[in-house]
Every structure is written in structure tokens, then in C-alpha cells.
Symmetry: C2
Subunit: 700 residues, 2 copies
């Protein structure tokens, strides 16, 4: 049977799982009237924000779609639209489930910890499997249509360009969603904390704080919708780029090329099965260890995936010893590379837990440093954030070396594909976080029993680590995917411009110029993201102060604050602030190419552009890893103190830890994670620029 | 006349200036008995620290000298020792002047602002000109001895290796001095602030604080001695590497090679004259603008330097239109490159002032963000530190492109050389800072009139910016020097291993592995430096708490704290903490080469090592720029608030700004500046590794 068709069926299975589990979640009790009222406000705010965000993105998207159509032809434009729309859909569905599961998790936690965990994790699993399923379907259906219905050759230029355009659509939406959502969630969070906890002296999630609904909306539109769009993009780009690389690089495979190109899709498909099975193993043991339950689910998914990938590879290639064209390696080597991808995922999860979990040295050292004040808390947090880049980098470097030794660049592609094939499970772990975070907020605002809040806090503490895990995983896979994209760039370059000799050697100063400019991009992008959060949070503070001043009944608890006004304000601010930084990685490759070409000729323009692509990954990997790990560590250092260490809640150490947490917020939830789509969008724009410069090779 | 001899004479001129001006400084009034007693304690502590630091470094140094002797021959070992000893001497003299000028500046400030400025700036100028003079003499005398006395050819392998070994000696000492001094100064500063300002509620520099002498010692051993050793190293490496590159790359110059190789020395020599003249123009105008006086001195130095470099180039090459060998450019092109170096220096100073001065958006935005608390202060400071990398990177990139277009890699070398030729003046501006900082401390401790402290504060505010300027300048020049060193690496490689084809293309995965590992080094190094400061500061806090607890008379002002005990404690901690991070850049290139060679063959080992060198600069440039600019901005944001803005001293905004300042301390004075010698040491170790692997080509 056609592997692509099987992959489509497996992608549909994920959708079926999502629909089936959604009905389970929606069928559960949504709690009392008060809870439903609060949840309703959050739903309304999240929908309003996403609606406005998508309308803004759509305007940019239509312009870009037309440009893609004009320069690269209709098929590519269709690919772009599919990628863009489905990336948006993935985010929208994630948000939609999350804003319904939050209140149900709070209600379930009234019954017990396991009930709360089940509800929140199911919501996460729906998002996770829909992200993986939709991403797989996007590529597989489009690819099936082009090669089987339209009858194009699997390595036809139109097919390749269309896959790249599809990835571009997904990336463009995801950078807006990640950044816009990231600015929204952290502006609301920081603003609410500053004016509530610090100024007014009221606790977190106090219903008297006008920014409290905005804060909860932020969890859904940033940590859930933004993250889902990001992982959708990562999946599509990684799998798509691996297929493109196979089409460009594998020579002499003949008839075997079609199943080889379909293998990444098939691996994605079988891992959906493994992920679905894994979700049923997320159960508390006798020790009530929430993180342990998560690990059990992930571990089972990974083990089953390894077996299924073995069978998939064997089946697709007609035996593990089949030679791959005349490339000097066999199916077995490709399996080892995929296995390596699974191992890298496991290692990154382990390292992330070490750096962000409350049981280990890093978080505890930050907690301890909080005893001597705000300054030492931040210094130690920054030190940990710098240090946290080392082990993931070594893992990625080892992954590159081993995969390359096994099966060259294609091997790196398969390792990255296998990493992403686990996205269903990894996203499930992440999307679980904002649900429990919201559940805690709703429990607080609705005045539920203290014991409920304790249970949601227990569930939420794990959320900090799982959220950091996904970011480390996404950026790690981006490290591998970027190499694949760079290989696609150089291969395309040779194909499109056979007469231009491009010197990619480090001895070429324009290569160094490109590396420096590329490494600059994540810094500039991070600066813009951090500044945006600060500015928007300042607006929130002013709005809340204004509400308190005009209506003293709010603090007295006699009148209801105008939640919608704050939500509306953050919405406008986030959308305004996301535009310019998002365009930076789109425009930078184009500007660098033209400026350097003008100064030093076309060949050096191509060299500088290629180096820019690697500079972005070399710079961005460290910025993203340090920001996401550091932010998670600060957050959990605060939680560790709140658990009664170093003086506990209200102590001086706690005040210092709150500062660290505030600093970590835009680090880990705005600037850091948005670097991931930024890296890929830079690479994809370069590929599209090549195709455009080549003069519509790909026009239909 | 022999250009090298003229350069030696000009180097001696700097020494004469130093001796003459020293006698002026030492002849001035050292204030009353109380002031002299305090200054004596600082002197004693600084000498004790430097003595112990140098003894520790000497142990490492002797081992390395023997290794250099065994692998590269006696001449190289002598070069190493000269570089190491003079780097130490530069630091020692700087400290020695600084600890005498501090009390005299306080005494002079009693008379007037201009008197204080003159005294402090003269002290800075002594350090500056001795750094430049000794560095020039080190290379020029050694080069003269080898080529004129020993009669070796100017591009003889022994000469090249000896120059590289000399640079290695300077770098090795300077990384220890920068890091050890940086840890000392910030551990004492942060510790004194935490336990004094925050816990005990006593002002900065209060004599009751047992850590107050240690804090003042730190200014001298870190900001002065460490900085002087660093700039000595930067000078030696840059000028030496440019000479090495000329020897390796310029073909067909025949007789003209010798004057061409001497030209970098000659440029260094004439700029010493310009710097000496410039120092006499640092005078307050009618507006009493201290920064303006500094700029006047620098501006005049730069303009005179431009003229003198023109004449030097014309004289050395026998006319500006002389063709440089068969390389396709003339003396005029080399002059333009030197002029470019002067322009880059000016631009970096201007950019640094923009990002760290109190008159511009960045510092003011941090001050404003302090109003909403500690968290927003730190967020905005981090955003500014990320943003502050952009303009210097663009300047460096433009510099690379223009210099390369004008005269290839040699052009980049001349641009870097001209930058460093201004070191006399730039170091003067920097070394002025710790003197005024100390003067303020002494005025406070000796209970001088309030008006004196006001004047020293006015002088000190400028010090924050000038300190940041030198760091931006050093790291910017390192960006150019690293390219020169990388070119030396690749050229050496081809010469030593003509049969090994090394693929430096970005398409080689081992190049990417090298880039990633290289970019990791500054992160890991920064993490170690920050952690060390935190740990040592914690020790200071404990010691001071202990002193307060055991003798209540200290806080009452009736008994004298045991200053020496705290100094001793910080000394031990700093020396212990500096060892491992300093060895990181020494060992990393060796480990990477052998591991990758073992996995993927010698050629890929060389490729990965080369990429590591560029990875260090690509990663390190951004880490260093962001840390030094961000730290300076935080410091001045605090000063801006203390000047009465946003609520002034004691306001909530001020507390937040103190936190930011504390965070910025290890950023700007420990981790950030130490990245500069780290970059170069990695490169130099790689060059020596090549020579060693080539099997003692250079043995005498």
C-alpha cells in the first residue's frame, strides 16, 4: 500500500483521537456558576485576541501569498496558504480546548489529584495530537496530491518548491503567533504582578485585580496557541526539509526514491500511534509523583516509537540492509539515525529537568542566592542560564557527528524527523501547563476550597518544567533542521546557478560578515521582544491604577473591575508590538544578499547569505537555550521557596525570587521561544529567494 | 634610519613620559594623616593581592614556558616569558600608580574640580602610556634582536613562532589577571553592598564596613591592573599578528618586506607621540564638562595620529603609491585602512557613550523602568544589553568589508593595529576611573567635606562610561584581530601540512560542530565567572556578618574592623576561582582537535579547530558587548536616579536601580571583559598547536 496514504490515515487517526477525547473533556463537569462565569470571561478574551491577531496576520499573509504566487507560481502559493492556515488552525484548536479544559480541571481537582491530572493532560494530549496530526496531514495530503494526483515526479522542482512554500506559510504564522502571544501573556503576567502583588499587596489571581483575566487569557493565547503554532511549524519544516533534502541529494536510487521520500511521513505516522498509546500511561503511581506520571507516558511512547520506526523503515525500504541509492549506507543506518533522534529528545528532556527542576543544584542555587537579595538572585539566575547552554549543545554536537558518520546529511535529517515525530507526546506535556495554570487561577477567583488550589499548584509546578522541555526540544531540533535547510540552500544554489562559484570557506571575509550578522539577529530580536513586554506591561500597570483610582469599590470587593478593558488594551499592545520584530528575520536575508552582492559581487552575496543562515543558528541556539532554561529555573526557584525553603512565602528571599521570576518571564515565554521560528524563517526565506532569483524555475 | 629602532625610541619616550609624570603625581600632597592611613591600607591590600596572584600565575607560567621550550624551542620560550613578564609588569605599574594617585586626587579635589581631574587623569595617562610603551617595546626589541642582532630573515619561521609565543605569554597572564582581578573587585563590591547598604543600612564606603577596604582594593587590582594587563595583551597580539600575517601572506615584496613588517610598530610609535600630546588637552572648558574634556584629549590624539600615520606610511614605504609586493594595492590603501581603524575607535566610543551615558534613551529607559520595581529594571537592562550589540557589530562588519576591499586581510590587520595604536589614550581614559572611584571612597572614609565627595562623584560618573568604552574598544579590536589570527592559522596550516586538504566550507558538518563548540566557550566561561563572583561575594557577606556579631563596637564606631581579614579572604577566593575558567580556552582547542581528529580524521580535526576559533569570536563578541554595555547602563541608571530623577536616592526606583547595578557588576567587570583575552588565547593556542604538531619546525 502507498506509504503516503498510510501516513494520511495515521494522521487522520490523530484527528479522530482529538475529536473523541474532546468529547470526553467537554462531557465533564464545568463546575459551579461562578467558575463558569470566570471561564467564560477567559474564553471570550482569548477568542477576541486570537481573532484580532489572525486578522492582522492575514493581511500580511495575503500580501506574501500573492508575492509567492507571482514569483514562484500558483502551486507554491497554495502550499503557502495551506501551511499558514493550518498553523493558525493548530493554534486555534489548542486555545479552544485549553479554555474549556481549565475550568473542568479545577472542577476535577475537587475530586482528587488524579482526576485533575487526567483532565489537564487529556486537554494537552488533544492539542499535541492535533498539532502532530494536522502537520502530518498538511504535508502528506499536499504531497500526495502533487505526486499521485497531478502525477509529478517526487523530486520535481515544483514539488520541492511547494513543500518549501508550505513550510514558509507555517513559519510566518508561527513567528507572529509565538511573539504576539508571548508579548500578550507576559505583558499581562508582569503587569498584573507589578500592580497587584507589589503595589496593591493582593495575592496572585485575586479577582479584584483588573488584569487577572488578561493574565489567564495570556496562558491560553501565548503558552498554548502560540506554542502549538510553533510546534506545528517545527514539524512541517523539519519533515518537509528532510524530504526536500532526499529529493536533492540522494542519487541513483531509481524506483526506491519514492518510498525513501515517503519514509519521513511514515515515521511521523507510526509515532502518532505510539503517542496515542503513551497518553494512556500518564497515571499517578503510589507516590503521587506528577512528573513521574509524565515520564512514564513519554518513556512508553519513545520505546514503542523505536520499535515502530524499525518496522516502518524495514517495510518502506524492503529490508534494513537495502542500500540507499549509491550513497554508501543502508536502511539500518537510517534507522540508527532515527533512534538517535529519539535519544536526543530523551537527553534534552533530562537536561532540561536538571536545570529547571526543584530537586537539583541549579534551581536550588538560585533559591539560596535569593537569601542575600534581589541582585544575587538575578546574578545566579543569569549564571545558570548561561551554563544551561552547555549540555544541550554537546548533545546536539554529538548528534550531528554520529548522524553524519552514519548516513551523511540525510542522516541528520532523519534524526531531526524522529525528534519531531514525538511532537504529539511532547506538545501534550507542554499544553498541559497552561490548563493547570488557568485551573489554579479559576480555583482562586471562584473561592474554591484551599485544598483545590493546593492540588492545582502541585499540577502546575510540573508545568514549569514541561514548558521548558518543549522549548529546549524545539530549539534543539531547530539546530539539526537548520543544517538540513542549509544543505538544501547550498544544493539549490548549485542547481540554480551552476556557473556561480560560491566560496563558503571560513577564509572568505564575507562568510565571516554573514556569520556575525546572522548571530546578531537573535540578539536584536530578543531585545525587541523584551522591550515590547516591558512597554506593554507598563500600559497594563497604568490601566489598573486608573481603574483602582476611579472606582474604590474594586479594592473593597463591592464592584467588578472592567476585565475586558484590560484584555483589550493588552491585545492592541501585543499586536502592535509583534509586527516589526517578526519582519526582521524575513527581511534580513534579502537585505544582506542584495547589499553584499552590490558591494562584492553575486557570489559573495550568496556566501554571506549562506553564512547568515548558520550565524542565526549559532547565535540563536545559545540565546534561546539560555533564556528558556534560565526563565524556568527562576520560576521554580520561587516555587521552591514558596514550598517553605529559605524562609518561605513572604520572606526576603521570596521577594528576591519574585523579582527573578519576573525577569525570567519575558526570557522564557517571549523572546526565547520565538527565536526558534525566527531561525527557520530566515532559512526558508533564503531558499525562496534563491528560487525567485533563479527566475521562476518553479513557475507552473 | 631603521624603523624598528625609531619605534623602540618612541616606545622609550612613553616610558620617559611615565616616569616624568609619576614624579609630578607623587610630588603632590597626599592629604592628611587619616587619608594616608586609609590609602596605606588599600595599597597594602592591593600589593598583597597582586603578589599572591602573580605567584600563582607564575606556577602555571613556568610549566607552560617549559612546554613551549620543549615543543617550539628556546627562542619561543623566551618570547613567551617576555610577553608574560611584561604583561604582569604593566598591570603592576598600573596598580602602583593608581593606589598612590587615589588619595592625591581626593586631596586635589579639595582645591577644585580641575585639580582633581588633572591628578586622576595624569595617573590614568601614566598607566595608558606605559601599557602602550611596554607593549611596543616588547615586540620591537625582541624583533630587533632576532632580525638585526641574530640576523634572521624577517619572515623566518623562528621569528614568526617567537612573536606568536610572545603574544601567548601576554594573553595567558592577562586572562588570569582579568578574571582574578574581576572576581576580586566584584566579589568585594557586591559583598560590601549587600551586607553594608542592604543589611546594615550604612552608606557606601562607610569605614564601619569591614569590606570597604577590599572594595577599594578591588578597583585597583581589577579595574586597573587587570585592565592594563588585558590591553597590553590586546596590543601585543594585534600588532604581532599583523606582522605575522605580513610575513606569511605578502608575496613578491623582496626588499620592501622588512619596512612593511616594521610599519605596524612604527604606527604604534607615532601614535604614542600623539597620545602624549593629547593628554595635555584634557582640560575643563567653561561648562565644567568632564566628559567633554576627555573627548577633547581623545579627539586631538586621533587627529594628530591620522597625520602622523600618513607620514609614517609614506616614509616607511617610500611613497604612498608604492605597490605592496604583487598584491594589487598601494601604501595609500594601507593608510586608508589605518584611518578606518581610527574611525572605528571613534564610532565605538560614541556608541558606547550612547548606550551607557545618562543623557540618552538607553540609560533613561532603565531608570524609568525602575519606577515599577526590581523586575522591570532588570528586564529593561537586559533588553538594552542585547540591543547594544547591534551598532558595534555593524561598525565592525563595515570595517571588515571596507578594509578587505582596500587591502585584503593585511588591510584588516592595519585597521586593527591603528585601533590599538591609540591604546595609550584609551587606557588613560579607563585607568582614570578606578582612581576617582577610590578618591571618592577615601574622601568618604576620611570624613572630608561633603563638597569634596561631590566633586569626586562628578569625576567618577564619567568613569563608568570611559570604563565601558575601553571594553567595547578592546572587544571590537578583538573582532578584527581574531580574523587576522584565523588567517594566520589557515596560512600556517597550508605551510605546515601541504598534503592535508582541509575543508573549511560551511558545508562540512565538522565546521558547524566547531562553530557551535566555539560559541559555547564564552557562555560557559561567563557562567563560571558569574558564579564565582556570587560565591565569593557570599563569603564576604558571611565574614562581615561575623565581624559585626563578634564586635558590636564596629557598628558603634568605637572599634576598627579587621579590614585585612576581608581582603585576605577575597584574595584567596578570587585566586581559587580564576584557575579553572582560565584554563578552559587553553585546553578547549587542544581537546577539540584531538577528539575530532580521532573521530573523523586529521583534516576534519583541523577544520573543526579552525571553526572553533571563529565560533569563539562570533559567540564571544555578542556576550562581551552585551555584558559590558548592559553593566555600564545599569550603573549609570542608578547614578541618574541618584541625581534626583524618578524620586532620587532612597526612593523605590532607587532600590530597584541598586539591584540592576549589582547585577551589572559581574556582567561588566568580571565575565564580559575577560571574554576578550579568552578569544585571543584560544586562537593563539591553536597557532602553537599547529607549530607543535608540525614537529618542531621552529626548533632552534
Amino acid at each position: 500500500m502507498d506509504l503516503v496514504l498510510i501516513s494520511i490515515v495515521l494522521g487522520l487517526l490523530a484527528v479522530v483521537y482529538g475529536v473523541f477525547t474532546s468529547s470526553q473533556v467537554l462531557g465533564a463537569s464545568a463546575g459551579n456558576e461562578k467558575m463558569q462565569e470566570i471561564a467564560g470571561a477567559i474564553q471570550e478574551g482569548a477568542k477576541a485576541y486570537l481573532g484580532r491577531q489572525y486578522r492582522t496576520i492575514a493581511m500580511v499573509g495575503v500580501v506574501v501569498a500573492v508575492l509567492v504566487g507571482v514569483f514562484l507560481g500558483l502551486t507554491s502559493a497554495i502550499g503557502f496558504v495551506i501551511g499558514a492556515v493550518l498553523s493558525g488552525v493548530a493554534g486555534y484548536i489548542g486555545m479552544n480546548i485549553s479554555v474549556r479544559a481549565n475550568v473542568r480541571t479545577a472542577a476535577a481537582a475537587e475530586k482528587g489529584l488524579q482526576d485533575g491530572l487526567t483532565m489537564a493532560f487529556r486537554a494537552g494530549a488533544i492539542t499535541g495530537l492535533l498539532v502532530a496530526g494536522l502537520a502530518l496531514l498538511a504535508i502528506a495530503v499536499f504531497y500526495y496530491y502533487l505526486t499521485r494526483v497531478q502525477g509529478m515526479a517526487v523530486n520535481d522542482r515544483t514539488v520541492i518548491d511547494a513543500l518549501v512554500a508550505l513550510a514558509f506559510g507555517a513559519s510566518l504564522i508561527s513567528i507572529f503567533a509565538r511573539l504576539g502571544g508571548g508579548i500578550f501573556t507576559k505583558a499581562a503576567d508582569v503587569g498584573a504582578d507589578l500592580v497587584g502583588k507589589v503595589e496593591a499587596g493582593i495575592p496572585e489571581d485575586d479577582p479584584r485585580n483588573p488584569a487577572v483575566i488578561a493574565d489567564n487569557v495570556g496562558d491560553n493565547v501565548g503558552d498554548c496557541a502560540g506554542m502549538a503554532a510553533d510546534l506545528f511549524e517545527t514539524y512541517v519544516v523539519t519533515v518537509g526539509a528532510t524530504m526536500v533534502l532526499i529529493a536533492l541529494l540522494v542519487k541513483g536510487a531509481g524506483e526506491a526514491l519514492a518510498p525513501l521520500m515517503a519514509l519521513p511521513l511514515f515515521i511521523g505516522g507510526v509515532c502518532i500511534v505510539a503517542s496515542i498509546i503513551g497518553t494512556y500511561f500518564v497515571k499517578l503511581g503510589s507516590s503521587n509523583n506528577v512528573m513521574g506520571a509524565m515520564y512514564k507516558g513519554f518513556g512508553i511512547t519513545a520505546v514503542i516509537s523505536a520499535f515502530l520506526i524499525w518496522f516502518a523503515t524495514d517495510y518502506a525500504l524492503g529490508g534494513m540492509e537495502t542500500e540507499i541509492g549509491d550513497n554508501g549506507y543502508t536502511g539500518r543506518a537510517l534507522f540508527y539515525c532515527s533512534f538517535l533522534g529519539l535519544a536526543i529528545t530523551g537527553l534534552i528532556i533530562w537536561i532540561t529537568e536538571y536545570y529547571t527542576g526543584t530537586n537539583y543544584r541549579p534551581v536550588r542555587s538560585i533559591a539560596k542566592a535569593s537569601e542575600t537579595g534581589h541582585g544575587t538572585n538575578v546574578i545566579q539566575g543569569l549564571a545558570i542560564s548561561l551554563e544551561a547552554t552547555a549540555l544541550p549543545t554537546l548533545v546536539i554536537v554529538a548528534g550531528i557527528i554520529i548522524a553524519y558518520q552514519l548516513a551523511g546529511l540525510i542522516g541528520i535529517g532523519f534524526a531531526a524527523t524522529a525528534m519531531l515525530a514525538l511532537a504529539g507526546m511532547v506538545v501534550a506535556l507542554d499544553a498541559y501547563g497552561p490548563v493547570t495554570d488557568n485551573a489554579g487561577g479559576i480555583a482562586e477567583m471562584a473561592g474554591l476550597d484551599e485544598s483545590v488550589r493546593e492540588k492545582t499548584d502541585l499540577l502546575d509546578a510540573v508545568g514549569n518544567t514541561t514548558k521548558a522541555v518543549t522549548k529546549g526540544y524545539a530549539i534543539g531540533s531547530a539546530g539539526l533542521a537548520a543544517l538540513v535547510l542549509f544543505a538544501a540552500y547550498t544544493t539549490d544554489l548549485r542547481e540554480f546557478f551552476p556557473n556561480v562559484t560560491v566560496d563558503f570557506s571560513l577564509e572568505n571575509p564575507y562568510v565571516i560578515v554573514g556569520l556575525l550578522l546572522g548571530a546578531l539577529l537573535p540578539y536584536l530580536f530578543g531585545a525587541m521582544g523584551m522591550t515590547a513586554v516591558g512597554r506593554a506591561a507598563g500600559d497594563v500597570v497604568k490601566d489598573v491604577r486608573d481603574q483602582f483610582a476611579n472606582d474604590p469599590g474594586i479594592m473593597a470587593g463591592t464592584s467588578r473591575p472592567n476585565y475586558a478593558r484590560t484584555v483589550d488594551l493588552v491585545t492592541k499592545a501585543a499586536i502592535k508590538e509583534m509586527i516589526i520584530p517578526s519582519l526582521l528575520p524575513v527581511l534580513a536575508p534579502i537585505v544582506v544578499y542584495f547589499v553584499i552582492s552590490w558591494i562584492a559581487g553575486e557570489a559573495n552575496g550568496f556566501a554571506a547569505l549562506g553564512a547568515l543562515l548558520l550565524g542565526v543558528i549559532v547565535g540563536g541556539l545559545f540565546v534561546a537555550l539560555s533564556m528558556t532554561a534560565g526563565g524556568g529555573a527562576w520560576d521554580n526557584a520561587k516555587k521552591y521557596i514558596e514550598d517553605g525553603n529559605h524562609g518561605g512565602k513572604g520572606s526576603d528571599a521570596h521577594h528576591a525570587a519574585v523579582t527573578g521570576d519576573t525577569v525570567g518571564d519575558p526570557y522564557k515565554d517571549t523572546a526565547g521561544p520565538a527565536v526558534n521560528p525566527m531561525i527557520k524563517i530566515t532559512n526558508i526565506v533564503a531558499l525562496l529567494l534563491l528560487a525567485t532569483l533563479a527566475g521562476g524555475h518553479a513557475a507552473m
